[in-house]
C-alpha cells in the first residue's frame, strides 16, 4: 500500500462495463514503491468518496479487486482508507544514515520537515 494525495479526477464514458459507476481518482504517491510502470501518478478506484486534496491509502493488485468485491475486475489500484492524520516520528528526519524522502516538495497533511535538519542537498 502507499500513502498519496488525491490531485485529480478522471471522467470516462467509454470503458470496461465492470468499471461502471466506479469513481476514478488521480493520486500522487508521497513515497514510491516500485510499481510495474514508470509513471509518477496512480489512477485508483474510490468507493470511500475521497476528494481532491485528501490524503489516501491506496492498495495494489488482488486486494484492490477484493476491496470492490470481485476477483476478475479490470482494476489495479483502489483507495482503501481516507487519512485523518499522519504522524511521522521526529527521528526519521535525523537518522544519520537515513533521512527518508517523501516525494520532494509535497508532504502529507500535518507533517512538517524540520527546517534545520534538512536533507543535506541532493
Amino acid at each position: 500500500m502507499f500513502l498519496g494525495r488525491v490531485v485529480g479526477t478522471v471522467w470516462a464514458t467509454r470503458k470496461d462495463d465492470r468499471l461502471e459507476g466506479l469513481k476514478l481518482l488521480i493520486v500522487r504517491p508521497y513515497g514510491w514503491y516500485r510499481p510495474a510502470h514508470d509513471s509518477n501518478h496512480v489512477v485508483a478506484i474510490d468507493k470511500l468518496d475521497a476528494g481532491v486534496e485528501d490524503d489516501v491509502v491506496v492498495v495494489f493488485g488482488a486486494p484492490a479487486r477484493w476491496s470492490l468485491g470481485g476477483r476478475n475486475l479490470p482494476v489495479e489500484a483502489a483507495v482503501v482508507a481516507v487519512v485523518d492524520r499522519t504522524e511521522v516520528d521526529p527521528s526519521a528526519w535525523t537518522l544519520p544514515d537515513a533521512p527518508f524522502r517523501f516525494r520532494p516538495g509535497l508532504l502529507p497533511k500535518g507533517v512538517e520537515a524540520p527546517r534545520a535538519a534538512g536533507r543535506g542537498g541532493g
Binding site: 513515497g31 470511500l48 526519521a92 544514515d97 537515513a98
Partner: protein, 101 residues
C-alpha cells in the same frame, strides 16, 4: 521481503471495513550499500510504503515487510484470503549484523 524502518503511523476513520482495527504504519525502505570503508550500511532508497502492523513495532525500529500473499499470511496465518493488504510487517529486527564483505 524488504527491509525498512518504521517512520510513522497513519490514522483513518473512513476506510474499507476489512481494515477495521488494523494499525497502519509508514515504512521507509532501506537498501544495503557498501560504505567507503567497505562496510555494508543501510541506506533509505526513497520509497515509503504503508504496511499493516500486527507486531506493534515502534517508530525507529527496523523491520522486514512481506508482500502479496506473504503479507496476508503474516497478518492472518492460514486464512490469507480475507486480509485486505499487499504489505505487512512480518519481522521486527532486534539487531542486525552486517557482513564486512
Amino acid at each position: 521481503m524488504i527491509r525498512g524502518r518504521i517512520i510513522g503511523e497513519v490514522w483513518a476513520t473512513r476506510k474499507h471495513p476489512a481494515l477495521e482495527g488494523r494499525k497502519l504504519v509508514l515504512v521507509s525502505v532501506v537498501a544495503t550499500q557498501a560504505s567507503a570503508e567497505g562496510k555494508q550500511v543501510a541506506v533509505p532508497d526513497g520509497d515509503v510504503v504503508v504496511a499493516i502492523d500486527t507486531l506493534d513495532a515502534a517508530p525507529g525500529q527496523e523491520v522486514l515487510v512481506s508482500w502479496g500473499s506473504g503479507a496476508r499470511n503474516a497478518v492472518s496465518p492460514g486464512h490469507p484470503g480475507i486480509v485486505l493488504a499487499d504489505a505487512a510487517v512480518s519481522v521486527v529486527l532486534a539487531e542486525t549484523f552486517e557482513s564486512s564483505r
